[in-house]
């Protein structure tokens, strides 16, 4: 068995044949996060992305959202150049076959040359598309469990993300980082809930931030404060990391509790901008509900297999596996439309310093992913050990399973159980 209770065979990360099977059985079946409704507000709005290795177009057609494989039914060209925009038709650049936004073939030049009943109906549709709280999901498989059951207890993380926005109004804004690394897609998914890594991987940025000028008080803040505060938080003591919550679901999703105690970074603790924001939430929902929402302290969430997000700074990452040892990650920021404008500036500053392509936090993660891939391509040692906290996992009543401590590797073991379910079904 390649996947055992507390260890995983290296070929799961390094064997191209296993990668091909993953694209078919995991990325070809699971619900994948594709984006957010704010990216396709009006009829004809579209953006291109990938589902695993399949190029797709996500488009608003009247009241619904459709997802098409971005490939002409004639000779195979992508009908839509990569990017986003608004259109009535997708016209193939090769021979001018055109499709409406629903994917139906509309016009074929030199039509008399084809046998009429042999012409394809249109672009191949991605069979299942659903949304949850404004987030767009699709599955390449026509059959399977519905989205709600797939998400299970991980719905709480999306609820937290959306409930924090006054009026529930969120929009993708501020540009998209697209970064790549020479490593397997799972290396990122296995890193974002790992509370034992910042002290080592991010040691340099933590050390420098500790010696940086102290952040200013309200009214005398510096542009550098968000960066310095966040990097200092990465250096939280071991006891803090051990104490945070760590939950996983049967589908491999996972989410961690908050490790922040910095009043400038965490909402609801007396910062002037946050006070204004909290007032907005109270006006809308009443004090008890607003406080309940702000007390939810979920930090990173993984939606297995392709998404990682965190609601407090409204960052969402989608991973695109390119090859067994090559991955591309798109990082989106979200604006709360009805919150004070300064909060989005914090989001942008946070995105640059933590998730950006030139970040001195992210680049150390990428370096380590590449070193892992290097190590795992060696056949001299077979096993990857994921036993931190093994044997002490706690069953929760809502179907989730909690790590014995915040640094338990339970989230990798849960991902690997889900991996095995997909791969052997």
């Amino acid at each position: 068995m390649l996947v055992q209770p507390d260890r995983v065979h290296r070929s799961v990360y390094a064997d191209p044949a296993i990668f091909d099977l993953e694209m078919e059985r995991i990325f070809g079946r699971a619900w994948l996060v594709l984006g957010h409704e704010s990216q396709v507000k009006k009829a004809g709005d579209y953006f291109t992305t990938r589902m695993g290795r399949e190029p797709v177009i996500v488009v608003r057609t009247g009241n619904s959202i459709a997802v098409h494989i971005n490939r002409c039914a004639h000779r195979g060209s992508m009908v839509c150049a990569e990017g986003r925009g608004n259109t009535e038709r997708f016209v193939c650049p090769y021979h001018g076959w055109s499709y409406d936004t629903g994917g139906t073939l509309q016009a074929v030049p030199f039509a008399s040359g084809y046998e009429k009943d042999k012409l394809p109906a249109g672009l191949k549709a991605v069979p299942r598309v659903e949304t949850y709280r404004g987030f767009i999901f699709a599955s390449l498989a026509s059959q399977g469990e519905n989205l709600q059951s797939f998400l299970g207890p991980a719905k709480a993380s999306f609820d937290d993300f959306v409930d924090r926005a006054p009026g529930g109004e969120l929009e993708v804004a501020g540009g998209v980082f697209k970064h790549a690394y020479n490593g397997n897609w799972k290396l990122m998914i296995e890193n974002h809930l790992d509370g034992a890594h910042p002290a080592w991987v991010h040691a340099s940025s933590v050390a420098v931030a500790r010696n940086a000028p102290d952040p200013g008080k309200p009214g005398a803040e510096h542009y550098s404060d968000i960066a310095v505060r966040q990097m200092r938080q990465n250096g939280a003591p071991d006891a803090v990391w051990e104490a945070i919550g760590m939950w996983t679901t049967p589908r491999g999703h996972g989410y961690m509790g908050d490790y922040h105690d910095d009043s400038r970074l965490v909402t609801g603790l007396g910062n002037p901008v946050f006070d204004l924001y909290r007032k907005k939430l109270i006006e809308e929902k009443g004090e008890a509900e607003a406080d309940r929402i702000l007390r939810v302290t979920l930090w990173n969430t993984i939606v297995y297999p392709n998404c990682s997000f965190m609601s407090q700074f409204r960052q969402l990452r989608i991973i695109h596996p390119i090859a067994v040892d090559r991955s591309v990650v798109y990082t989106y920021s979200f604006r709360m439309k009805n919150a004070p404008a300064a909060m989005f500036r914090d989001t942008v500053a946070f995105a640059n310093v933590v998730n950006g392509t030139g970040s001195w936090v992210l680049t150390d993660d990428l370096e380590v992913y590449e070193r892992i891939q290097h190590g795992l391509s060696s056949g001299a040692v077979d096993w990857v050990y994921v036993g931190r906290g093994h044997g002490r996992d706690v069953e929760e009543p809502n179907g989730s399973r909690r790590g014995a401590t915040g640094t338990s590797e339970i989230f990798i073991r849960a991902q690997m159980r889900a991996w095995l379910d997909y791969m052997s079904a």
Binding site: Y223, V228, N352, T363, D364
Partner: protein, 151 residues
């Protein structure tokens, strides 16, 4: 020193890994900006590959020297090739446009970048200080491996 000579000198400091001396070229109120988007108008509502004030730029240089700065240990070897230098005076500063090609080598991987660069220079004692540097990578909107060098 002419503006061209100054830009060559700046590039030489980066290529010889004299990061601290390079940092000294910047004024205390300087900004160093590598936008994410083509024609990006501002750095506060849209993300940037790098947007540092003088404090963050100094921290960035210090981080690069830390013994556990994994992505910068060792520092990449680079060549910064500056050309097409044009300049005009503007509000007591010199606005300098140039093009930049960078070759980076690290971990058996060679990478090439091209960029349009804008400097705003302030003259002091026959030399210059950089008040603002903007580097528009032609690949800024593409799928890029992590960037751990300075332009």
């Amino acid at each position: 020193m002419s503006p061209e000579q100054f830009l060559y000198y700046e590039a030489r400091l980066l290529d010889t890994q004299q990061l601290e001396a390079w940092l000294e070229l910047f004024t205390d109120d300087a900004t160093y900006w590598v936008p994410l988007e083509k024609d990006q108008r501002e750095p506060f509502e849209t993300s940037s590959i790098i947007h540092d004030d003088r404090t963050l730029l100094e921290l960035r240089v210090k981080q690069a020297r830390h013994p556990r700065a994994h992505a910068r240990l060792p520092l990449a070897r680079t060549v910064h090739q500056v050309s097409n230098v044009m300049f005009e005076e503007q509000n007591n500063e010199l606005k300098v446009h140039s093009t930049l090609q960078v070759v980076e080598f690290r971990n058996d991987k060679q990478r090439v970048y091209g960029a349009l660069v804008e400097h705003r220079l302030r003259g002091t004692n026959g030399s210059f200080k950089i008040a603002h540097k903007r580097v528009d990578l032609v690949s800024s909107e593409g799928e890029l491996d992590g960037i751990a060098i300075l332009f």
